[in-house]
């Protein structure tokens, strides 16, 4: 088998194994009612974990809110009546997007303040799984890439 394909398989396998291990130890092996160790962490250790995760989580919530807010508040000329085919519910959906992201951000901040395990685990899981998913995607693309070199690259 071609070397790059083997490496593609390895990238996919590593991404899958890491995702599996992460989900297992962050969610499966944990009972939410028995977690007490996070509360025992000293403040510096806790915030060393919490601050980067908070930045990412609040950044994502903030982006969602900003998208909804922009759709809600943007002022533009109305479209030509002939091209309006159906009623536009975008503003209603944007309102719910703002509401949802604000609620998620508030829940996250509350969870952080009471040092809830899930407040850190869920955003960390989302980011980790997205990154591993992207590595997997690239791995699959390497495996299925055409194997012939373009003429100008052949030496």
């Amino acid at each position: 088998m071609q070397r790059s394909r083997i490496s593609g398989f390895i990238a996919c396998a590593i991404a899958l194994v890491l995702a599996g291990l992460f989900v297992n130890y962050a969610f499966v092996e944990i009972s939410p009612f028995e977690i007490s160790s996070i509360g025992l962490l000293d403040a510096y250790t806790y915030y060393a974990l919490a601050i980067p995760i908070s930045l990412v989580a609040l950044g994502i919530c903030g982006t969602g809110f900003w998208v909804g807010w922009t759709i809600l508040t943007i002022k533009v000329a109305p479209p030509m009546p002939e091209i309006v085919e159906k009623k536009d519910y975008a503003k209603v959906k944007a309102f719910f997007l703002c509401l949802l992201t604000a609620a998620l951000a508030a829940a996250f901040v509350y969870g952080l303040s009471v040092r809830n395990y899930w407040a850190l685990a869920i955003p960390a899981a989302a980011v980790t799984l997205v990154v591993l998913g992207m590595v997997f995607w690239v791995g699959v693309a390497i495996i299925s890439a055409r194997s012939t070199l373009p003429e100008d690259k052949k030496q």
Binding site: V76, P79, A94, V131, I142, P150, K153
Partner: protein
């Protein structure tokens, strides 16, 4: 002067950035300057007197399949490429941001050998430029128009919630606002665009310089011996770009007294779906033709065959298609969106101006010019005279040279 131009897309056949780079570089060389250009793909052809420095880009945003290059299978996992890959999957357009970082790295390498007097970017304004600013070389950027206009014109048309979300994520407005306020000068291509940049990004008017684009009147000229096609109109531009306002022109076709035929020149036409749908709905299939991508000579000939060019844009930072048609002595009906009145000039003398978003006014203008061949001929000739007097690349380069001198002087 030793000038370093930058353009995230360098090829003149891929859009306005490449055309701008090609002409500005060529004219600056003619004025005796040493010109280097840091360019992203698609790369420009070799230009006489210009030293090209290429930086890579994987174009993950547009290339959805087969993005792995067989000779570099792991390139996608390198940090900058991986960021570009991930961002593009979330609908963000990362090309200009990553170009700015790559340009910084390339410039860092070049500055070991070259001492540039000025760096001139073309409409990129990525975060990497904040790093370039620390090199202490005067740094200016051409901003053709703020992207906030592209975004708001998209919102004028009915679309789904998902598409609206995509459009918001697509335009890097915050980044461009931050970066544009930290460069030595913003060069823009019309007074209207300067006002819009001031409104959208808060760049003070005194930190902006207006340098009109040029028009190559040697390429765009009235071809002799070509017979006009009766009642013919031409529209040149990307029909999927909502700010071009082509939908208003299609509606106008249903309102004209004369039966006119519209030729649409849009390189991406085979893949378009929005406008063909409206052509069917308006029942004008027999009156609209798409040419697809055509060579420049064919476009010039097409202009000469056509009686009227129409630019119904809701906004244009400059409006190359209007200037091209004018250079070919074709009378232009243009909407007063953005800088089009600055380019087209006086109503009824060098062009015919109508309010934007007004199909009735467009139809009235088309009928007037179809019914008055004398007015058409006079308008066409006056239009070419205006282009030759006002919009040449030679003028543009001389004006730019003055801006460079001012900026370098202020920097010392």
């Amino acid at each position: 002067m030793k000038i370093c131009l930058m353009s995230y897309r360098g090829n003149p056949y891929c859009g306005g950035q490449g055309i701008y780079l090609m002409y500005v570089a060529r004219e600056l060389v003619k004025l005796g300057h040493e010109v280097h250009a840091i360019v992203g793909p698609p790369y420009p052809f070799e230009m006489e007197g210009v030293t090209l420095h290429r930086v890579s880009n994987h174009n993950y945003f547009n290339v959805r399949k087969d993005f792995i290059k067989p000779h570099k299978p792991f390139a996608s996992l390198l940090p900058l490429n991986f960021y570009e890959f991930v961002a593009s999957k979330f609908g963000i357009f990362p090309e200009i941001e990553t170009f700015s970082v790559r340009a910084f790295l390339k410039l860092k390498e070049l500055l070991k050998e070259h001492r540039f007097d000025i760096i001139h970017d073309n409409q990129c304004l990525g975060y990497g430029f904040l790093l370039i600013n620390h090199f202490g070389v005067p740094f200016v950027s051409t901003l053709h128009h703020p992207l906030s206009i592209d975004r708001s014109t998209w919102f004028e048309y009915p679309s789904t919630f998902a598409l609206k979300m995509k459009r918001i994520l697509y335009y890097p407005l915050l980044m461009q606002a931050i970066v544009s306020n930290r460069l030595d000068r913003i060069i823009t291509v019309s007074h209207d665009s300067a006002r819009e940049i001031n409104r959208a990004f808060g760049v003070p008017m005194e930190r902006q310089s207006v340098v009109y684009n040029g028009m190559d009147a040697g390429i765009f000229y009235p071809v002799k011996g070509v017979k006009n096609r009766k009642n013919s109109l031409i529209f040149v531009g990307n029909v999927e770009d909502r700010k071009k306002g082509v939908i208003y022109l299609l509606k106008a076709l249903t309102l004209t007294k004369n039966k006119v035929h519209l030729t649409i020149v849009d390189g991406g036409a085979p893949n378009r779906n929005y406008v063909p749908r409206w052509i069917d709905r308006f029942g004008i299939q027999d009156r609209v033709t798409f040419t697809g991508k055509i060579p420049l000579e064919r476009l010039v000939e097409l202009y000469s065959r056509t009686e009227i060019a129409v630019c119904p844009s809701l906004y244009e930072g400059f409006g190359f298609p209007a200037a091209e048609a004018m250079a070919c002595e074709v009378p232009v009906i243009a909407a007063t969106g953005g800088a089009l009145p600055e380019v087209v000039g006086e109503h009824m003398k060098t062009g015919y101006l109508v309010p934007p978003r007004d199909p009735e006014a467009l139809a009235e203008g088309i009928d007037y010019l179809i019914d008055n061949p004398d007015a058409r001929r006079k308008m066409g000739k006056a239009a070419r005279r205006r282009v030759l007097a006002t919009f040449t690349w030679e003028n543009a380069a001389r004006e730019m040279e003055k801006v460079y001198e001012e900026v370098i002087g202020a920097h010392r």
